[in-house]
């Protein structure tokens, strides 16, 4: 057990730190209806990494470059005939194909493709933790800074604008934080599953929360539980960490959903099975 712990500890701690940012960020992604955007951005990180390896640059620069391209591309593609969710789906699959193509054909990273797609936290060691912790801290600080304005925009855009909030600036700011998060989360859950890490804890939390604050707190607990069980599960089943974390998060979500459906429909069941009838 303790021997296992020594191997798992860095991965576990890194995952837990990451979950501190993913939970509140995931709530905002849902409230601002950016789930598809987050997915497109996450798929873009694969291309970012591939370009960075190819051009021998730091990965952060590659990912930043692709993120900016995604935003500019979306501005260009804005067209009232094309529904936004479909456009984002197109962007996501195109980026995934380009990323895979670059990674497999132009670099020598073929062996690591699965890791980039589904995450490999277990490769981390203690030396990686300060950078992850630092980035998450910066992300959290930015998130706290934009939080009140983001909640107001999610509630009612016109009311927020009257109070002097600039929606475009706020959206770009938020996209920046999201892109940064994707860059950090790539190692943990991989390009394909980043949106799962973002959205699943927040969705689970929605079922049990009455206020934005409650939703964030419950999402935080859910994400921590998912990361912890996921990291241990990935060792136990010998699968990619991202796969196992997202599987745990998905099970938590479906369990919560079933329980919530059963409890809220109790009255309906009771009506049918009432002893008086």
């Amino acid at each position: 057990m303790s021997a296992w712990l020594a191997i798992i500890a860095p991965a576990w701690i890194a995952g837990s730190i990451l979950a501190l940012l993913s939970a509140p960020l995931g709530c905002l992604v849902l409230w601002r209806r950016m789930a598809f955007f987050a997915d497109a951005l996450a798929h873009g990180t694969l291309l970012g990494v591939a370009l960075a390896v190819w051009w021998q640059m730091p990965m952060g620069i590659g990912i930043a470059l692709v993120s900016v391209m995604v935003v500019l591309g979306l501005v260009f593609m804005d067209d009232e005939r094309l529904p936004a969710d479909a456009v984002l789906a197109v962007v996501a699959v195109s980026l995934l194909c380009l990323g895979l193509l670059t990674l497999t054909q132009l670099t020598d990273q073929q062996a690591n493709v699965l890791g980039f797609l589904f995450g490999n936290l277990l490769e981390l060691d203690w030396a990686d933790l300060p950078l992850i912790a630092g980035s998450v801290l910066v992300g959290l600080a930015l998130l706290i800074y934009i939080w009140p304005a983001q909640i107001k925009l999610a509630t009612h855009e016109a009311l927020a604008r009257i109070q002097g909030i600039n929606p475009t600036r706020q959206r770009l700011f938020f996209m920046g934080v999201l892109a940064g998060f994707c860059a950090i989360a790539l190692q943990a859950v991989g390009s394909l599953l980043i949106s799962g890490l973002l959205v699943l804890p927040a969705l689970t939390a929605r079922l049990w929360s009455a206020s934005p604050k409650q939703m964030v707190i419950i999402a935080l607990f859910t994400a921590q539980l998912g990361v912890t069980l996921g990291v241990w599960g990935s060792i136990w089943l010998d699968i990619q960490t991202g796969l196992s974390i997202v599987l745990v998060l998905a099970s938590l979500f479906f369990t919560a959903l079933i329980i919530s459906k059963l409890t809220t429909s109790k009255s309906i069941l009771a009506k049918f099975w009432s002893p008086r009838r």
Partner: protein
């Protein structure tokens, strides 16, 4: 045109020659309006007359194609939107929405006064999603008043309300206490309320058709053309008649 403005009142907001087009489509043209401090102005007009566009221009949500919207002093706008719905993914209690108002504009007693007057205290822990139309309107009105506005804009505030709530809500805004006194712009379909008081009325139909006191308006030919079929003489002479609201 500005004749109805009292000389000794100070101006709050001026719209001069404001026009708004989308492409070739004219939504509003040559709008000139002055709103004085603490003045109540009601805007009436048929569907598609540009009432909501006018509100958006004053709110600063859209920019006029030509002309200017100039506040004479810093505007603190309170706005009760026509349609309001919280996205269901966002769990939001009434208290959460009210906490989005600017802090510390009112004292604790003044806040409590608003809560009492609008009977909100028992609603505070309810979800916004589960409120009825009338409850939502009361919460939104409180949300706007907590900002202590100097201009309160109500866009069709009575949509979907039963006549009883409607009367009550109009009475509430007619009798705001001193610490909430502000200019008001009320967009309304309800001719009964609009024509009852002595507030200035602006009839809008892509341009300002006529404006003035209700008694002057009723005899204006443009007004007759727009509203004559809804608004018959008896209401001028019997302002308290309520057959208007009787279900037909």
């Amino acid at each position: 045109m500005r004749g109805h403005l009292m000389n000794n009142t100070s101006k709050l907001l001026n719209l001069s020659n404001v026009s708004y087009y989308i492409g070739q489509q004219r939504l509003l043209s040559n709008i000139n309006i002055d709103i004085a401090v603490n003045e109540t102005v009601s805007v009436i007009g048929p569907n598609g007359a540009g009432k909501s566009t006018l509100v958006k221009l004053i709110l600063g949500l859209i920019v006029p194609t030509s002309g200017q919207v100039t506040p004479s002093e810093p505007l603190q706008i309170g706005y009760v939107p026509q349609l309001f719905s919280v996205p269901p993914i966002l769990p939001l209690r009434v208290s959460d929405l009210l906490s989005q108002a600017r802090k510390k504009r009112l004292t604790a007693e003044q806040r409590q006064f608003i809560f009492d007057k609008l009977s909100l205290t028992h609603l505070l822990s309810r979800q916004m999603l589960h409120l009825s139309g009338g409850e939502t309107q009361r919460v939104l009105l409180a949300r706007a008043l907590l900002d202590k506005p100097n201009l309160l804009i109500l866009d069709e505030p009575m949509q979907g309300l039963d006549p009883e709530t409607e009367v009550w809500l109009y009475q509430f805004i007619d009798e705001l206490p001193e610490f909430l006194r502000c200019a008001m712009l009320v967009v309304s379909h309800d001719l009964h309320w609009v024509m009852k008081g002595s507030r200035r009325v602006i009839c809008l139909n892509k341009h300002i058709c006529c404006e003035g006191q209700p008694s002057e308006l009723a005899i204006s030919s443009e007004f007759q053309k727009l509203f004559g079929h809804h608004y018959e003489q008896p209401y001028v002479h019997q302002p308290h008649a309520c057959e208007h609201h009787a279900p037909s």
